[in-house]
Structures are given as structure tokens and as C-alpha cells.
Symmetry: C2
DNA sequence: GAAGTATAGTTAGCTATGCTAACTAATTTC
DNA sequence: GAAATTAGTTAGCATAGCTAACTATACTTC
């Protein structure tokens, strides 16, 4: 770091330091998710379906378009993901009373159970590793997770 | 945190705190990579090929089996990825002198250029966001990146 | 050195996930 | 009420993951 500013004033543009952090963060997140992804295999559903289902479980009912936007995917892609989830009885689809074009999609009880089980496996895997960290490093990750969340919210 | 230990002694097993961090980290990394992934579209190559190519560029020549192991993918999958990269002249393949079954795969000059350009786009995107962070938060991410790297190395 | 086993990669064929283009149907706007 | 917009589907393409079954080379064992 060449200059310090404790208030939200940005640093100079794309210094080597910023690029180095971008690189490390990029690499670490890729490898972290690659490890966790393996835990999902035994759920019987692919990553896109699990992710969409988790949006429904934690975010409540959504239309197809809202789901597509949340998952940053085009409508036809989400259409097929929803079809797959419906085929497995993991979601329930109701027509919107106000607008017959819209569909209200919600997780079914079965979908909720499946997602919680999958989530449990991922969390157990990651938590099992975090668990082995010394307190100090654990705290660093806690702070970083908050920073990352804000970064994503403020992304532009 | 219920107990503190500044030395590498692990905490109690899978406390709510550990699970909460696992959850936040999981969510943040997923959404971070989803954003960065978009930058790769204009490279003309998919994520699996870019990732394998980056292994070759930064890790030097590899056999197909080594590439598959590094990318945590089965041999037939890597076989097709390599075929795609070869079709685009992004890699060069030589037969191993000692063992005619093996292939030595290396990035071509064209592959190196393409990967560096793609990497530049990802890094610019992420760095552009990191750039806007106040110094203090930036430093937190730096520390976290180190912790994450160690976590991945020590993963078991 | 021949037979059997192990290893490196390929091929075929399945599923899942992403896209665009072109479509249907419902709603809104003018 | 005609035109434009919006929600979602269908068709068709490419990438990426897998297993099973194959070829070809290398190693082992007698």
C-alpha cells in the first residue's frame, strides 16, 4: 500500500498491489468453490438447480424472471432449470392472479429438505476446515466476509 | 467466538459461529465469481478451457493426466478440453520420449496471449472494485486472502 | 520372452447448463 | 382496438461434466 486513507476514499488506480490482491482472491475463491462443489454430487441435482432452489428457500417465492435475474442467467436457461426442479417435485408453480403471464415459483417441502441437506454437506465440509484455523485467522476471515458482502452489494 | 486461542489450536466443533462464517464465505465467493465469469465471455473460450490454459501458462507443460488432476476433472473431460484448445491452436502437444502413451502439453504463444488478455479483463474488473475500498477494508481482504490460501493448501 | 496386469488417453453416449433467435400469449399504451 | 411491451417457451447450438468400453503402451512375473 503506497498511501493510506482510513475513510472511504479510494486508492490510486489499479496499482500492482490491487492487482495482486485481485489475483489471490480470484485464485482462492476458485479453488475453494471447486472443493465445495464436490459435496453437491450426492444431492442428485446439478449446481444451477441447487442454486436456484436455494434462492427460493432463503428468498421466498419468485417469478421465473426474478429467478433468472438473481441467478444472472437468461430466461430460457432458467426456464429449463425450473422445468428440471418441477420434474423432481422440488418446487411448486402457481399462476399469478393479477398477471396470467407470470408464474409464482416456490420451494416444495421436498425441495426444502433436499436443499437443507445439500447445504448441510457444503457447510460441514467448509466449517470442518475453518474449525481448524487458529482464532486469529478465523477472525480475519470473518472480517473479510463482511467486506466482501459489501463489495458485492456496491458492485458497479 | 466463545473461546480465544492465538496459537494454532482449533476451536470447538462446528459452532454456529463457524457455520455462519462458512455460509457467508460460501455465498460471497459464489457471487464474486459469478460477476467475474462474465468478463470471460469475450475471450471466445469457455471457463474450463481458460482454467486449463492458465494452469499451463503459470505451471508450465503438463501431461493430460496431470492437467485432469489439477483441474479435479476426469480424463475424458480433460481430453475434450485439450482437443478444444488444440483446435484453437492455443496449445502445442508433443509426445513424451520416454513413454509413448503420455503427451506433453504446453501453451502456445497464441494461447499465452489469449490467457493474459482474459486474465487482464478479470483482474481489471475485480481490481476496479477493490480499488474503491477504503484502505482498512482492503487490508482486511489482503489478510484474508493469505488465510484462505493456507486453508486450501492444508485442506484435508 | 510371453502372458497378464496396469496405466495413459480416446471414443461414444448420456445429462446439465449456458446462449441466441424465433415464437406464443398476456398486458399496457396510445 | 391496434401497436408495442413483457413473460415465458421452444428449438437448436456449444461447452462441460460423467461412466463404460476401447486402444495402445509399459511394466511384472514367470
Amino acid at each position: 500500500m503506497t498511501k493510506s486513507s482510513l475513510k472511504p476514499s479510494p486508492r490510486e488506480k489499479l496499482s500492482p498491489e490491487v492487482l495482486a490482491l485481485a489475483d489471490h482472491l480470484h485464485s482462492a475463491t476458485i479453488h475453494l468453490l471447486r472443493r465445495l462443489r464436490k459435496q453437491d454430487a450426492c444431492s442428485g441435482e446439478g449446481p444451477a438447480r441447487l442454486s436456484a432452489l436455494s434462492v427460493l428457500v432463503f428468498g421466498g417465492p419468485k417469478t421465473l424472471g426474478e429467478l433468472a435475474a438473481t441467478e444472472q442467467v437468461k430466461a430460457p436457461t432458467m426456464s429449463r432449470i425450473v422445468a428440471g426442479l418441477a420434474r423432481g417435485r422440488l418446487i411448486e408453480i402457481a399462476l399469478d392472479a393479477d398477471d396470467a403471464r407470470r408464474m409464482q415459483i416456490r420451494a416444495s417441502a421436498k425441495g426444502e429438505r433436499l436443499l437443507q441437506a445439500a447445504r448441510q454437506r457444503r457447510m460441514a465440509s467448509l466449517a470442518g476446515q475453518l474449525h481448524r484455523l487458529p482464532m486469529k485467522e478465523f477472525a480475519k476471515l470473518q472480517q473479510a466476509a463482511e467486506v466482501l458482502s459489501r463489495l458485492l452489494v456496491d458492485w458497479r
